[in-house]
């Protein structure tokens, strides 16, 4: 019994989701290998080899894996699957994309977005936008699992372990990368930030999101948004916090002008401390907030910025 974790990385940097997924994988109770698939990986490989509890790092360096295309990546993982009882990745948009493909090719179920490991076969995962927590037991001999990284701690470091090269088929010829539009930001990433401040429909337009900048600067916070704000075109999709957007669990979450729809709460209610600022005293967000402030956000935000 052995576990393979597929690393999440972007622009030459190993994402914190990888470390957290290792923590979940260690709980399964077996040795953990880490697969790093992409292009020009040498800088990242030492970082990968230094994550505590990783036994071996496998490097698949090929242009076909550079953009994490699901078809090519799934084929690579499939070629390594014989050696492993558990195949694990984080439930990011990358993991969600290629992992079910791996599962189907192995003819096994996938256990999606686990938040806890009970034993090597049994896991907890949220269903119905987090309104229920299911305990599920996999009956397949091989388990394919994605992990909600925000539910696990970052793994410690260790002295670097061995790094081995592996080769896959490369491109399977079904898909090609065309282009990407990356949102550039100096701020910490939503899923890794200790503080998140999010705006909702109450922000009224995209320009008003600038009101969150000063506060975010002072708190070292990432800026998020509700689905309503993204749908209205105020801000780009990658800022969405919720059931179908990003799941965050920071130390402090500040919801500004967000009513608190079920699907938004699903993305942030595991935050340690929640602050809600909304002028509607009946907004459902106050039911999950530790501290609520019933006031007009346009009065409160400048005041809050200067008070910090």
């Amino acid at each position: 019994m052995k576990t393979l974790v597929i690393a999440e990385h972007d622009k030459g940097v190993l994402k914190p989701e990888t470390n957290k997924t290792i923590t979940a994988a260690v709980k399964l109770g077996f040795d953990v290998d880490l697969l790093l698939a992409g292009e020009n990986l040498s800088a990242m490989s030492e970082q990968a080899a230094s994550i505590a509890s990783v036994s071996n790092v496998l490097i698949a360096d090929d242009a076909a894996y550079a953009n994490q295309l699901a078809e090519n990546l799934a084929d690579l993982v499939l070629s390594l699957a014989d050696n492993y009882s558990h195949i694990v990745a984080s439930a990011t948009t990358t993991g969600k994309n290629f992992m079910p493909r791996v599962a189907a090719l192995l003819d096994v179920a996938q256990i999606s977005e686990i938040i806890d490991v009970i034993d090597a076969d049994t896991f907890k995962r949220p269903i119905y936008a987090g309104n229920a927590i299911a305990t599920v037991k996999s009956l397949d001999s091989k388990k394919v699992i994605t992990v909600r990284a925000s539910s696990f701690d970052i793994a410690q470091e260790q002295a670097p372990v061995a790094v081995t090269s592996v080769t896959g088929k490369g491109s399977v010829g079904l898909s090609e990368f065309v282009s990407e539009e990356q949102t550039e930001s100096e701020r910490p990433e939503l899923t890794a930030a200790p503080v998140v401040i999010s705006g909702g429909r109450g922000m009224q337009n995209g320009e008003n999101f600038a009101l969150l900048n000063g506060i975010a600067d002072k708190l070292g916070a990432a800026i998020g948004a509700s689905r309503a704000a993204v749908d209205a075109g105020f801000v780009p999709n990658d800022m969405q916090v919720g059931q179908t957007g990003k799941i965050v669990a920071p130390d402090l979450y500040i919801a500004v002008g967000i009513s608190g729809a079920i699907q938004h709460l699903a993305g942030m209610k595991d935050s340690k401390v929640i602050v809600a600022i909304n002028k509607d005293p009946d907004a459902p967000i106050f039911q999950v907030a530790d501290y609520g402030l019933v006031a007009d956000l346009f009065d409160v935000l400048p005041e809050l910025e200067s008070a910090l």
Binding site: E71, S112, Y128, N131, S175, E180, T191, N237
Partner: protein, 249 residues
């Protein structure tokens, strides 16, 4: 070009799911059901492709008990040409659903299959990717734009860092994200017309797919409740509380 759109009947997105007292599952008795929101977006996209002259036929398919025919009629009212109901009383998993759908793909040979990226009940986000694997097709998941060309489809995907565009060889599988389109409502005349459109019923166990469970639902629990918070008077109190009580700033 034929487009196949698998859809799912789920709890209405406005309804809060409650866990059964015996913790065996979520209680769906007398709960309002509807088409999964991501499936509505998938139907809309297929209909727009037909209106643009790119698609020639839109086929909706669902898997479930007799009641799920309601959602098929909705799909027909929205503009699908015909519907297929794979009938079963069993609660199926994503892998089973993908396998059953792969049989319909064999039968119907659609150039494009458009599905919702996830259903808001099980929140698995698997079926489209699994169907792509089982049919050996490329997959454009979490689509915010679908652009069909000769022999390929360009799909712009909502990813964690922004947007990624991939080109897939046709036939291909696409799963929808929220920003792909804004679904229309069915008009009354179209709802009436939908009643006369063809709806084929196929028994799930006639398709030769092993539907034995791969995952056992051990227990379903309520999530841990957050203890009630307080309403603070002003910004100064809020900052004070965050510093001294919560100690998070």
């Amino acid at each position: 070009m034929k487009v196949l759109v698998p859809i799912k009947r789920v709890i209405d997105y406005n309804v809060k799911a409650r866990v059964k007292a015996d913790k065996t599952d979520v209680d769906l008795a007398n709960v309002k059901m509807a088409m999964n929101p991501f499936c509505e977006i998938a139907i809309e996209e297929a209909i727009r492709l037909k209106e643009a002259g790119t698609a020639t036929e839109v086929v909706a398919v669902t898997i479930g008990n007799k009641s799920s025919q309601e959602q098929l009629r909705t799909a027909l009212a929205l503009g699908a040409d015909k519907a297929i109901h794979i009938e079963t009383e069993e609660k199926l998993e994503s892998l089973h659903v993908a396998k059953l759908l792969s049989k319909i793909v064999e039968q119907e040979s659609p150039e494009l299959v458009i599905l919702g990226k996830q259903s808001i009940d099980s929140d698995n986000n698997q079926t489209g990717q699994m169907l792509a694997a089982l049919t050996g097709r490329g997959q454009g998941t979490f689509a915010s734009k679908v652009d069909v060309q000769a022999g390929t489809v360009n799909v712009t995907r909502e990813v964690d860092g922004g947007l990624q565009t991939v080109a897939l060889k046709l036939p291909a599988i696409v799963t929808t994200d929220l920003r792909l389109n804004e679904p229309r409502y069915a008009s009354l005349p179209n709802i009436m017309k939908a009643k006369r459109k063809p709806l084929d019923v196929i028994a799930a166990d006639s398709l030769g797919v092993d539907l034995a469970p791969r995952v056992q639902l051990v227990e379903v629990n309520e999530p841990e409740k957050r203890s009630g918070g307080i309403i603070v008077e002003d910004v100064a109190t809020l900052v004070e509380k965050l510093k001294t009580e919560a100690k998070v700033i």
